[in-house]
Symmetry: C3
Subunit: 422 residues, 3 copies
């Protein structure tokens, strides 16, 4: 459980909140590049960390991310005209480039000092890994985090974004919580011993994993072990990366993945999921399955970020399926995750929890974020991870070890938790 004071610190991410300030030291993954308009096309809206923006691409192909409201008198730039390397407010024709500079202020005298003095608030933008990244902080932007999937060809990667109706930390807790896989995603009548992974026998046979948390500069490894046959342990090394990234190891043969739990505002978050294969293209069938909300991605209403199975329709739960097929009666692994995190409330009251040994990764994530936010509030020094770069060349991995062996003593397992060649 958390004291109310710590819960507030953990969950508030607006410009004036300590956690909001910490996050603004990092590049923020904002949307998929397929959602970013083409050059000179109309802008789109985006809410991020409690701020309302518009995103557009100018004539030269550069992406601009501006505060939605015009600095003049607040009219929405969403209705603006994207023309000749600037977004023009339709109220008085003020036109801003991607850096926020005012290129034209035609309702003021030509010699007005206002044109140079007034700027739109603009956020530096980068396109990488199929994602639009924004820097919402002060001063010079750092390096991007050098995730493995930034370097793979577009054909090898699939990226999607959807909205979740709760605070980012709560949504992320559902991912760090390795224990729930044994239940929430279980099949009711599963018998196949060969399926070792997501709904497989490893998860069924030992439902109380042992945990090992190992801090790193960019976050921590959340190792969890299940006893398996022959006096061995099945270890999964999940990854938490500051400030809101998670990685879980794939089933054998499955694509690798990273998930991002990005605050939309304090009561909603964006989930951005990248699945990728380092050395081969994603097949059409697999890509389609993800679009349909299978496995790592979530099904959304066409053309939106709104999930099909969601809070206000009880996730289209089917009580007959719950008795006969899946543990929840809810279609889609991600919708199942959303149900357990969203139904705890938009911002869960963590003073009412009862945490056990299986919640160690959840506790570690909260502690790490709270400590980092407190430290930054005190000394004003961003954590090393905010510098991005190679600290993010990390993988989640899994392996079977002799029961008495610690994972950190397995050179092979530890090596597989880093991107090969690093």
């Amino acid at each position: 459980m958390l004291k109310n004071e710590d819960n507030i610190l953990l969950t508030r991410t607006g410009p004036d909140a300590a956690m909001g300030k910490l996050m603004r030291c990092f590049w923020i993954p904002a949307m998929t590049l397929t959602e970013v308009p083409a050059a000179d096309e109309p802008p789109v809206r985006l809410r991020l960390l409690g701020e309302d923006l518009v995103v557009y691409r100018d004539t030269k192909g550069r992406v601009g991310a501006l505060e939605e409201r015009c600095p003049h008198r607040g009219a929405s730039l969403f209705f603006g005209r994207n023309e000749e390397c600037g977004l023009r407010c339709v109220y008085h024709g003020w036109k801003f480039d991607v850096s926020g500079e005012c290129l034209d202020m035609p309702n003021e005298p030509p010699d007005s000092p206002m044109k140079t003095r007034v700027r739109a608030r603009a956020f530096p933008a980068r396109e990488a890994g199929g994602i639009l990244w924004l820097y919402m902080g002060e001063g010079e932007a750092p390096m991007l985090p050098d995730f493995e999937w930034l370097g793979v060809p577009e054909t090898h990667r699939y990226v999607s974004r959807w909205e979740q109706e709760c605070n980012y930390a709560q949504a992320m807790e559902g991912e760090l919580d390795g224990a729930h896989v044994s239940f929430l995603h279980r099949l009711v009548n599963a018998v196949d011993d060969d399926e070792r992974a997501l709904t497989g026998s490893y998860f069924r046979d030992d439902t109380a994993p042992k945990w090992l948390i190992q801090d790193t500069d960019s976050g921590f490894i959340a190792g969890n072990a299940r006893f398996v046959a022959d006096q061995k342990s099945y270890w999964r090394l999940n990854q938490f990366l500051l400030p809101f990234y998670t990685m879980i190891p794939p089933r054998p043969g499955d694509a690798l993945l990273t998930r991002m739990w990005v605050p939309k505002d304090d009561e909603h978050c964006w989930v951005i999921c990248v699945t990728f294969r380092p050395d081969q293209a994603i097949g059409e069938a697999e890509r389609q399955a993800w679009k349909d909300g299978e496995n790592s991605h979530r099904k959304v209403e066409p053309g939106t970020t709104r999930p099909t199975e969601r809070l206000d329709n009880d996730y289209l739960m089917d009580r007959v399926e719950q008795k006969t097929i899946t543990f929840t009666g809810i279609k889609g692994i991600r919708a199942q995750d959303a149900m357990v995190t969203e139904t705890a409330g938009a911002i869960a009251d963590r003073s009412k929890e009862h945490l056990g040994t299986s919640d160690r990764a959840v506790v570690a994530m909260r502690r790490r974020l709270i400590n980092e936010a407190r430290a930054y509030a005190e000394d004003g020094k961003p954590p090393p991870a905010a510098q991005g770069g190679a600290l993010y060349r990390i993988r989640a991995t899994s392996g079977v070890l002799p029961r008495e062996q610690k994972p950190e003593d397995s050179a092979e397992l530890m090596a597989s938790s880093r991107v090969p060649g690093n």
Copy 2:
């Protein structure tokens, strides 16, 4: 009128409010038994006194009423699995019996002390009189109130529940207010002198009833008299029973009734209505009329507790019918009542009222509840009525007396205000 401080005291019923604490000394009628699931069927949601619960029936047929959120990390138990004498949270498989005891905690080590230490918050439940009763207070539950209709066969009784969009006290005021019958429920062109009752001549000929309030251990009698022919008075002895029950006398030949005005939260209440005939079965036509929203019950959208005529559709008021048939143009006596109480606001501002002699029962109810809540807050002793039992063997009754006779001097009338044989 009420001071704002008293209005708050009267209307707030959450766990920390004085009135909420008083009410939690009593058994709370929660839903009809037809709404309670069968054994091993999925749970249903219930909001009561501002708290969110799930209700289920276990394999042995026992009813469980648990706080909706799992004590572990808050996932909703509504999505839980009702299996083998317990409700299992789908997040980590914690399983709770009807008493709140944790029967299984499979994500923790077998020897974890948590399994015995952590309990779901569970509310004792009873099934009686076609109603599910819950005890939401501390310590030992008292006796149920021994209403007459708890003892009649199911065939002799009809119970329904619907939602009203205002505070419980305000809704109940509409029932205690005997004077409005002369107006709100009037027929515009009624001429039939034989209909003595609801819309009949007694109510038309004297529209300013005289009141007599007589306190009892379980509430008070709200007697109201109308002058009728031959120097006589038509007396109606309504009943208020702590903390939110009302009885009004039936028309000759009609079924008897009790209504319960149970807080859902501070801005909504449940109305539960029992109509019954002590010595004969309810006929099919009468039962169907009640389902259709005639007389004592209210029409709801099929399978819900949401009334068909309601605030957001102006109660389907028909202005032509208002000119030619009914005083309001609204179908259904209960919908008419709901209109006058709901349109005063979710929690009426009682500092703006102008009360007259016709409001004496309303005033008496407020005073009684406020005094009881204050007394309980001070001395911690529940009122005698909270013990339930025979204090509730009460009826509402009516009769015609010589104008100079006080009702309390009529042995026959007073005797008819108690259940026969008590």
Copy 3:
């Protein structure tokens, strides 16, 4: 920009707010007369300055405007019966005439002093100029403002009302802001040099008007000049009249107009627009165009005050039309105005603005209203304009002057800013 304290003073208009008190010194235009029911017809609802009223017309044709909630126990008088010179609450039959006097209180004894003591809160009403006016202040009502259009025949006038989803001051700023016409209402490919007015060359050729604010007893003249050919200036003398009236000069040949920006509550306002021709009837085609939302009026959903192009549907903006026809892609000049003012938020945060020379009329309006509200709060003396009458015999006008001539030195121009014959 405004300090937050001044922004609150400007925008709050409830009964206890300083601006609300100032406004209540004036007659308030409330609705069009076509919306007021006929004699003995059912009442209609009206929210005005944050208060909920019902409006009805009695048997003798007099208009009553009463607080919606019955003074007895708060039931809505909207559901009341309009009969024999009074509106009767259906709860207990209390009946109120247009002055608020209680004509009947049938649930109280005939000799009860309550009937004379209790009154419904009633607002004096006047019908003039196609508009229902209410006086919501204390004491004797002043004269109506003697707008020119009060004196023209009904055939010469068209009045409409619609709702805007932001504070009244913000909506009005969109009208006083003469500079935006050069942009917001522009046609993308306009070439016709003959159209001098709304989208014409005067507005295209000089987009940075020079301003002259001239205070008057009833408000101020907001003169704005654009340089045109031959060393001349095109002057437009807009009018602001206390507390929420604006006039803008018509294009040559167009009807004259007055707009009223009346608070519904602090986050919504009513726009009432009168267009009129002093000396000829409005033709059917022009009237129909206004009904269809062209030029001075706005298109609404049939039988309501809800605009067809509105905030929650992005004003039915068409991005193709925005590229090829209109500057905004939004149909209707008034819908375009609504977009730029509503998207700044229900109550704009004026601490974030950057005002320039083109905002001088906006600044003048805020200053004037704030100063008047402060003065009235201090000395309790309503401003002279509250006395109405001839101070409102004003017109907006326009004309072309030599560039060096000040408009106040042009006797002809200044004369045309008053109603002829005054």
